[in-house]
Symmetry: C2
Subunit: 348 residues, 2 copies
């Protein structure tokens, strides 16, 4: 019998087909290494120097409108450009490259400079979900766009250079590697079983309950059995749909609630604004049959022991395989124990 | 024609088969995000509280010998344990796990607490290479060991919790995912061409010269065409051998020289002790034919713009694909321009 909380072991990530290493006993290791700065948590509602606040000027000279809920624009420092022509490069089949065309957008989640998703009202988060869906649909109108990555980097530790609550969308002319992996695994499962991989996975997880954090009518948030980051989670839609384009009003409301509850639980663990990179994985667009694809959203948060001590995915992890110290089940227990009211809103 | 220094494009990593995204124009983006602390650079030669200094006591109560060059011991907080029994776990083919057996060792590179590889003498680095080879050979004697990862995390920004110069070896009972990927790609190439992939890649790179940093009798250090980290490099042996076990005395001397020159160039870029995770990739052990495998060593350094501003591999990178801002050719040019004498040893 494999004892998950005692024995070093590896677990298979069903979505990528790749294994991660779990070293449960290693959490006893003392930490004498780098400690992160805690970002000051006293931002004003409006910052005259923030390029995301309503009415302010951006890098290219444009003025933001006096927007009321969320607001979207093309990134002034886009990593991908729309006017790139598609060409290939191949030298002796050893140096292989291809130009990439794309559109990068920034979405401000709120006119308020001082908020984050867990501190926003459900209706305000719902407005963000609406905008994501609208943007996804609009971008997919461009036939050359093959994949749309919706994501958020939260916290300076995750490379976020502006604390104003915002996310990004990168839409591009080819399907990136992580999506390709998930396509392969989901396709293989679908062909064999006639159901999506996450549909069956969800049934099993809901039966076991161990790793479930949020469970409402349309969505589940859980710690995947193969989580690599200490408090990694995944939101899965109960209905097997390929993308956010398919969500009904009711589903979008439930997604807003799920995002709110999950991020409140994160913030409550260490009573800090919990950093993470999060993003949806969904079917490529303008492509063949995508019925094997099941919409989901990954949360990759770096914190391990406290608000200032993170997990380093370094030497062994970069060269060999991802590795974690606490088990996914321990992380799930901690997340489940948290209150669903944000610590800042709690009366002492 | 693909213009590498102007057009966003993707490049194929020949060793993994996966693409990375290059956004050359994006290096113009101003940086207002997280700035790293500069570790103080005034360490004593001996630190009574360091668990790696000669004569000091370790976590388990053992006393380090008064060692003269390098020194190796089993990690007091090993992520893998030798007494793990091998068992499998499978629930409905959806929760899949397997125990993992292993040995984790720590190698102190020098009795001197205040040094790092680029500040050590070639003969001292050669002693480290000797020890790596000896350890590799010894560990491979255990038939249950299938792969041996030799690596170093340098700098607190890379999760290194003790500045005393040291590296690690994790030997384990299965072949980790990154090695599996490289096996697949190298095997396919070898079957088709009867030569190793890196052999042919090296010939082409030596002809082009553009990305070559160090070139001596037995080794080349270069910025791979598909580098993901800003100043990522790779050391490749000129002789196509599967592992460090095959290196002759002369080759080990040249490897020491290559390590020295490459790390000196790193330190000189920003006049700082350049952080990185580095490690060898070599053939699995106690396995079938490994003639397709060609020894090499990866350097993944995080710094991008200065000693305190790193590249964040976050949202898009974690969810979609690795992404870089400066081109590999620009990075190679910067590395080539550096002096081969360490900045601390230079007279002003
Ligand atoms: O074993 P160390 O040096 O304490 O730990 C360091 O290297 C390990 C292997 O890459 C990582 O798993 C840890 O996150 C990192 O802090
Ligand atoms: O575009 P931003 O927010 O300035 O940049 C941030 O997110 C990007 C996408 O994950 C990363 O490439 C950058 O390294 C990170 O700093």
């Amino acid at each position: 019998m494999l004892n998950f909380s005692e024995q070093p072991h590896k677990r298979k990530n069903l979505l990528t087909g790749e294994y991660i290493l779990v070293s449960p006993h290693r959490s006893k290791r003392p930490w004498q290494g780098q400690v992160e700065d805690l970002a000051p948590d006293n931002r004003p509602q409006y910052d005259p120097k923030c390029y995301l606040c309503p009415g302010n000027e951006r890098a290219d000279g444009t003025q933001n409108p006096a927007y009321q809920d969320s607001f979207v624009f093309v990134n002034d420092f886009s990593a991908l450009l729309e006017d790139t022509s598609l060409t290939q490069f191949d030298e002796e089949n050893l140096l292989i490259a291809e130009s990439e065309r794309g559109i990068c957008k920034v979405i401000s989640f709120s006119p308020r400079h001082d908020l984050t998703l867990p501190e926003m009202r459900t209706t305000e988060i719902k407005a963000v979900v609406d905008l994501w869906q609208r943007e996804f649909n609009d971008l997919a109108q461009n036939e050359w766009i093959k994949y749309i990555q919706i994501f958020e980097n939260k916290g300076s530790i995750m490379g976020c250079s502006n604390p104003h609550p915002h996310g990004q969308i990168w839409a591009q002319s080819s399907v990136p590697v992580e999506i390709q992996k998930e396509s392969v695994q989901q396709q293989a499962y679908y062909e064999k079983h006639g159901r999506t991989l996450l549909q069956d996975y969800l049934v099993l997880e809901l039966k076991k309950e161990e790793r479930i954090i949020v469970d409402n009518t349309h969505f589940v948030a859980l710690v995947p059995f193969w989580a690599a980051w200490p408090y990694e989670t995944m939101i899965i839609s109960k209905r097997a749909v390929p993308s956010i384009a398919d969500f009904t009003e009711e589903e979008k409301e439930d997604l807003a609630k799920t995002l709110q509850e999950l991020t409140i639980r994160y913030d409550n663990i260490f009573k800090t604004s919990f950093p993470y990179s999060a993003g949806m994985h969904q079917a490529p667009v303008n492509t063949d049959d995508v019925s094997a694809w099941h919409w989901h959203m990954h949360f990759y948060p770096p914190l391990l022991r406290s608000a200032t001590v993170k997990k380093f995915m370094v030497g062994y992890e970069m060269l060999a395989s991802p590795q974690r110290d606490i088990t996914p089940e321990q992380a799930a227990t901690t997340l489940k124990q948290q209150a669903t009211i944000h610590y800042k809103a709690q009366k002492n």
